[in-house]
Amino acid sequence: MNTKRIVGDAIIYLILAVMSVIWLAPIAWLVLQSFGVSGGQADKMLFIPSTFGFQNYEGLFINKFWNGSAFSTKFERAYALFPYTMPSGEVLLGSFLNTLIVALGTMVLSTLLTLMTAYGLSRLRFRGRQLIMRICLIMGMFPGFLGVMILYWMFRGLGVPMSLFTLILVYSAGAGAGYYIAKGFFDTISKQIDEAAMIDGATRFQIFYKITLPLAKPIVVYQALTAFMGPWGEYITANYFIRGQAQYMTVAPQLYAIITGTIDASDYWGWFCAASVIIAIPVSILFVFMQKYYVSGVTGGSVKG
């Protein structure tokens, strides 16, 4: 029996080790590549670059392409990662800061909307509640991209200027429809606490603010985390709304354009790797540290379906 267990353990350790290598190798490759010196296609073919250096990162910060020769106006304007002053004197925030602004705005707005909806649907009983839940369910089945497309033309028609704020609005306005997980979590909080508070003289707003929210801390963090991480990887909406206005470029369309050769991919490979690392670092650290909340949010919220 004991030997059987030891053998089993050994096999599992082996499998886990192999899987770890498979899972970490691509990321290690990306990080190694970002320190490559040749920058172009030559290094991409190798697992470990031939020579190491920080040119790619320098390129990000001074916003000049690493070898200086392939300096392109188009590149500057559309693909600045960090704040940069144009030859014309115009200051661009760069896609990193743009995305950060959008992510923070979306985090605040959409967390608020989601929590409000979830609380309303979980705790309060009002007419049309079932209807709202049903509509949300149906809405979730439409490819969201169609709505984004129409929304773009609507904004164009109404003359709403496209800006980072527009992007925040588009990301968070419909956030209420994604109430499921938060509602599931609110449902698990005992209603007797509410009743006791009501007898002690609390209004519903006070119950929400002083009792339910502190108890629902994991789900608040979870919602904020997912809302913050959303814009970092969002492509379609950002691409649709900012086209023609490169000063509002966010990271996902930018990196995609580089890798697919909208600009010369073979020259910008090192730049891409360095940018990926820079973008991934803050988000990844945040996620790893907030992991606990993520898990408790997902499991706590989904227990009741």
Partner: protein, 1029 residues
């Protein structure tokens, strides 16, 4: 062209191109033609429009009707009429005047401002203006869209496009809201009807109508010049009520035929019909309510519309019916509110006086004297209630006669004891439990274990014992609370209030009020004593400024006095009203005594006033009217009429025992309600508005666009027309249709295969990974978990793009394979790895991922050989396999993370007992682990599945949708495209195919809906939502 322009031009290329084509479109239309041809053309276009787009025509027509009716006709009409009424000061009955629906918010606004409710007034006015603008604009634009007039249409060309749809949808929402309001009125009326439907009243009404009908003599009214005069005459000479007179005065009197078959007769008949109709509706209310309401609504509404468009002699009356119905409803609602207010107020006064008559009891409650403990919350209230069973038990079980059901106990508690709602529920639950347990077989054991009630042990014990157990339980809990709250107890309103609820069973709001008064006394004592010359009472209420420096008992006494005064005043007023109502009916019982009324009204009224001091000026005014009518109508009809009026007034007298003394809801109170009773509104309004504007409306539009010709033209720059051309292009019989359809089938198959593989492989492998990491003997669990979590912590598009580079033609893997000589020896050739041009093999790279824009590792010429590996490769088998594998790489950690917690919750007993029964690990996994995890995560599996059908990111970032090998594949699609990727490519193509994308979107929706429906039908957790809470 400066730098910026050049940079931007590449982004705006396609839009610029479309602008041009739009312009040429316009020019084509503007070529001058003979008028007869252009007229025929526009007529033909009109016909074609009806023919092609019945949907479009209906949509526009509804918009036009609502816009015009409400905006131009009703809006402006009501605005002027409302202004007239409002400014003349006759706004007191503005609710009753409000026959134009919410459109006459103008009147309400004016009257609110007049009575110094400025904020509300301004809001009403603003709402009115916005509403008018919206409706007027809608109607106006809809005319343009109906193609009735090309010039009008032309003028909207620049603001047309999607905005027309947006506006139309919002108009429909408005129309829907109108119906909702209407139904909510009907419901409220029913409640009122139950309260105040007196047969005597209805009979009196019918008789009065009869009298009027048979004595119709309206020559004087007909001769009157102004509406106001007419109304006055109707009221004073013909016994019309205020409202009836108002509506009757709107009739076209100059063309009036005063016989009962004429218009007046019709009006009278219709009024009677209405009364009968109402009766019928409500008699069968419970069974047939909805049907009758619907029929009534459609009937009245149809005629109401008809009346406006065909203003014939016959149909005019229906409008009056409609208006009258509305007025009645509104009046009923008004009275209902006041009636409730009155009862609440009197009850409050009485309880308040009792409470305040002994301020010491409140002090006792506050300080916990005599109890030795500081108690708080619902538990404390329960302790009090259980300690004094004589008070509650006797009340609760008196007359139950053995029917110990929860409902029976609830009802009895409800009637006998004024108690807080949730407390009552708890108490009745305890009583019920005690009774139930008393009847069961004795179980034995300790009833109270570790501070919790052991329900098993309660069985078979006497009721009193069980009650004592509950009492002990709650006392224990209270002690725990007491330690926490001891410091707060003496000066906290909620704590005092909760004790008052417990001790006196008074309602929550009252207890709070009493506690406040008591605390106010405490505070007043602390201030330096001073003699202020202020009056103690103002309008029967305590003057708070006069309280400073008085002792606590004095302050509480003052409040008691104030409540006594107010209650007395209330009773007095009540009595006076009842007396005057009786006096009126007494006078009307013998109308002949006053038939010499004509000519000396003032003298008679004066005499009446002295004879019956209880008559108010208001009553005298109406008596004057009634008596004048009696005198005018002559003996027989007059007698009948007066008898009817007498009965009516008797009915009113009966009702006047509960006269309507409500106070208007102050604005600040209404605002505060949004934090409490109407918190749902506060919480839900913002998300709902956001979702409607940014999700629902765009989605509805995108469905509608499937039925337009919006493809290839300057998107968004011109008006589109309703048409089915998108469907014809997509699924028609022509060559495009066939290619499109075969592409659709191919991509649909791949989408479904992909969704199933991506969902279930990730799910199962993720669970297996979680099981491996969670195995008891495995060390460094946290490290293993973190390794996998790192991959999902990185934004997904980065990992995907990284994978794309690794597997690209010149990525490290292909480079390594090349270095190892894979592409030169025979093995790779036999396996078909490499590139084919026709049947010739060229060594380059293995097609792990074939992207749209990357180098084509794909055969440039069709391959005609039979090598199965190469054939698989031409069918995009390898890229698909790679994508699924990469997706496993991406997705497993998610499943692992979310199922770890669930796996740890599975009880070990299950595994142990199954092991004893001889189950092996495999069996345990499929019979214990999977069902358990599935039960918990089942619903989220569906969401994942639908998410995978729409999984744009993975496919797009890895392959852009894949390489297009031509043939029966539409140019915008690729080998590995999902439907959603195809939709994206179509909408980004030049020209963009917006209507086709909408069609595909609808199909995707239908697929997702189909799967959801199947799953949700089997899920209990959705149906029994309440049980889970």
């Amino acid at each position: 062209m400066n730098d910026n322009d050049r940079n931007q031009s590449s982004f705006e290329e396609e839009e610029g191109g479309m602008d041009l084509s739009a312009a040429s479109d316009l020019e084509g239309e503007l070529v001058s033609e003979p008028w007869i041809i252009s007229a025929g053309r526009s007529f033909g276009r009109f016909l074609a429009k009806i023919g092609v787009g019945i949907l479009g025509f209906l949509f526009d027509a509804i918009k036009a009707v609502f816009g015009l009716v409400f905006g131009i006709f009703y809006g402006l009409y009501a605005l002027f009429r409302g202004a007239f009424v409002g400014l003349r000061g006759a706004h007191r009955n503005f609710y009753e005047v409000d026959v134009y629906g919410k459109v006459s918010y103008f009147v309400m606004g004016v009257s609110h401002i007049k009575s110094r409710h400025i904020a509300e007034g301004v809001i009403y006015l603003a709402v009115e203006i916005v509403f008018l603008l919206w409706m007027g604009l809608t109607g106006w634009m809809s005319i343009g869209n109906l193609s009735l007039n090309d010039e009008v249409k032309e003028s909207f060309k620049n603001v047309g496009n999607i905005l027309v749809l947006v506006q139309g949808i919002f108009t429909l929402i408005f129309a829907l809201a109108f119906f909702v309001f209407y139904f909510s009125y009907l419901r409220a009326v029913h409640d009122l009807y139950v309260i105040h439907n007196e047969p005597a009243f209805k009979n009196a009404q019918l008789k009065a109508l009869y009298a009027i009908e048979h004595n119709a003599d309206f020559e004087d009214v007909k001769a009157a010049r102004t509406g106001h005069e007419r109304r006055k005459l109707l009221m004073e000479n013909h016994g019309y009520g205020v409202i009836d007179a108002r509506y009757a005065s709107y009739l076209p009197w100059s063309r009036l035929d005063p016989n009962p078959q004429g218009l007046v007769g019709a009006f009278v008949n219709l009024r009677r019909t209405l009364v009968v109709l109402e009766t019928k509706v409500y008699e069968k209310y419970d069974a047939l309510r909805r049907q009758v309401e619907l029929r009534l609504l459609s009937d009245v509404f149809a005629r109401f519309l008809e009346w406006h468009f065909v203003p014939s002699k016959e149909t005019r009356g229906y409008s009056a019916v409609y208006q009258e119905a509305r007025t009645r409803y509104i009046r009923f609602i008004h009275k209902y509110d006041k009636y409730n207010d009155y009862h609440a107020v009197t009850r409050d006064y009485r309880v308040m006086i009792t409470l305040l008559s002994s301020p010491k009891t409140i002090a006792d409650c506050a300080n916990g004297i005599g109890e030795g403990k500081t108690l708080v919350g619902p538990d404390a209230a329960l302790v009090y209630a259980l300690r004094d069973p004589s008070k509650y038990l006797a009340a609760a079980f008196d007359g139950l006669e053995g029917k110990i059901t929860r409902k029976a106990i609830d009802d009895n508690l409800n009637v006998k004891v004024a108690m807080d709602g949730s407390l009552r529920r708890k108490l009745s639950k305890i009583f019920h439990a005690c009774y139930l347990y008393a009847g069961q077989e004795k179980a034995g054991g300790e009833p109270l274990v570790d501070g919790k009630i052991n329900k098993e042990a309660l069985k078979g014990r006497p009721i009193e014992e069980n009650l004592k157990t509950y009492l002990a339980y709650y006392e224990q809990r209270c002690e725990a609370y007491g330690v926490k709250y001891a410091a707060r107890a003496a000066t906290s309103v909620p704590i005092i209030a909760s004790r008052l609820i417990g001790v006196y069973g008074c309602s929550y709001s009252l207890a709070k009020k009493a506690a406040r008064i008591y605390l106010r006394g405490l505070k007043a004592e602390k201030k330096p004593a001073q003699e202020n010359g202020r009056s103690l009472f103002y309008n029967n209420c305590v003057n708070p400024f006069a309280l400073a420096g008085r002792s606590m008992n004095e302050v509480v006494g003052l409040y008691r006095r104030s409540y006594e005064l107010r209650a007395a005043a209330f009773e007095e007023e009540n009595a006076a009203r009842a007396a005057s109502a009786k006096a009126v009916s007494a006078i009307l019982a013998d109308p002949y005594a006053y038939l010499s009324f004509e000519g000396n009204e003032n003298a008679v009224l004066k005499a009446l006033g002295t004879e019956h001091p209880e008559l108010t000026a208001y009553d005298l005014r109406f008596l004057r009217k009634d008596l004048a009518t009696a005198a005018r109508l002559g003996a027989e009809g007059g007698a009948a009429y007066l008898k009817a009026r007498h009965q009516e007034s008797l009915a009113y007298a009966k009702m006047s025992e509960a006269p309507f003394h409500g106070q208007a809801n102050p604005f600040i109170k209404k605002v505060k309600q949004f934090g409490d009773e109407r918190f749902a509104f506060t919480v839900m309004s913002l998300p709902i508005i956001g979702s409607i504007c940014c999700s629902i409306v765009p989605l509805v539009i995108s469905i509608l666009i499937a039925f337009t010709d919006w493809a290839g033209q300057a998107a968004g720059q011109r008006l589109f027309t309703w048409s089915l051309s998108g469907w014809e292009n997509a699924f028609g019989l022509g060559a495009t249709g066939q290619v499109f359809f075969s592409t659709f089938l191919e991509l649909l198959t791949w989408t479904l295969v992909w969704a199933v593989l991506a969902t279930f492989l990730n799910y199962i492998f993720g669970i297996i990974l979680a099981l491996m990491i969670n195995r008891k003997s495995i060390k460094l669990k946290k490290m293993w978990r973190t390794i996998f979590v790192v991959t999902i912590a990185i934004p997904q598009f980065i990992t995907l793009l990284c994978m794309r580079s690794i597997f690209s033609d010149n990525g490290p893997i292909n480079t390594w394979l090349l270095q190892q000589g894979w592409y030169v020896d025979g093995v790779s050739k036999a396996l078909g790895m490499g590139r084919y041009v026709g049947d010739d093999w060229i060594a380059t790279a293995f097609p792990f991922l074939v992207t749209k824009t990357g180098s084509a590792s794909r055969a440039d010429l069709p391959y005609t050989g039979t090598n199965p590996f190469v054939l698989a490769f031409t069918q995009a088998f390898w890229p698909k396999l790679t994508i699924v594998l990469i997706n496993i790489w991406v997705g497993i950690p998610y499943t692992m993370l979310s199922t770890s917690g669930i796996l740890m919750n599975i009880p070990d007993d299950l595994y142990e007992s199954s092991q004893i029964d001889g189950a092996n690990k495999w069996r345990q996994f499929w019979s214990i682990t999977m069902p358990y995890v599935l039960f918990v995560t089942g619903p989220s599996l569906l969401t994942t599945f639908i998410g995978n059908i729409n999984n744009f990111n993975v496919i797009f970032f890895l392959t852009d949708g894949g390489y297009n090998h031509g043939g029966m594949l539409e140019t915008s699609a690729g080998d590995t495209s999902l439907l959603i990727t195809w939709i994206y490519n179509l909408s980004n193509a030049t020209p963009p195919m917006y209507n086709t994308t909408s069609i595909l979107g609808c199909i995707v929706f239908a697929i997702c809906g189909f799967f959801s429906l199947i799953v949700y039908r089997r899920l209990g957790s959705v149906k029994n939502e309440e049980e889970f809470q």
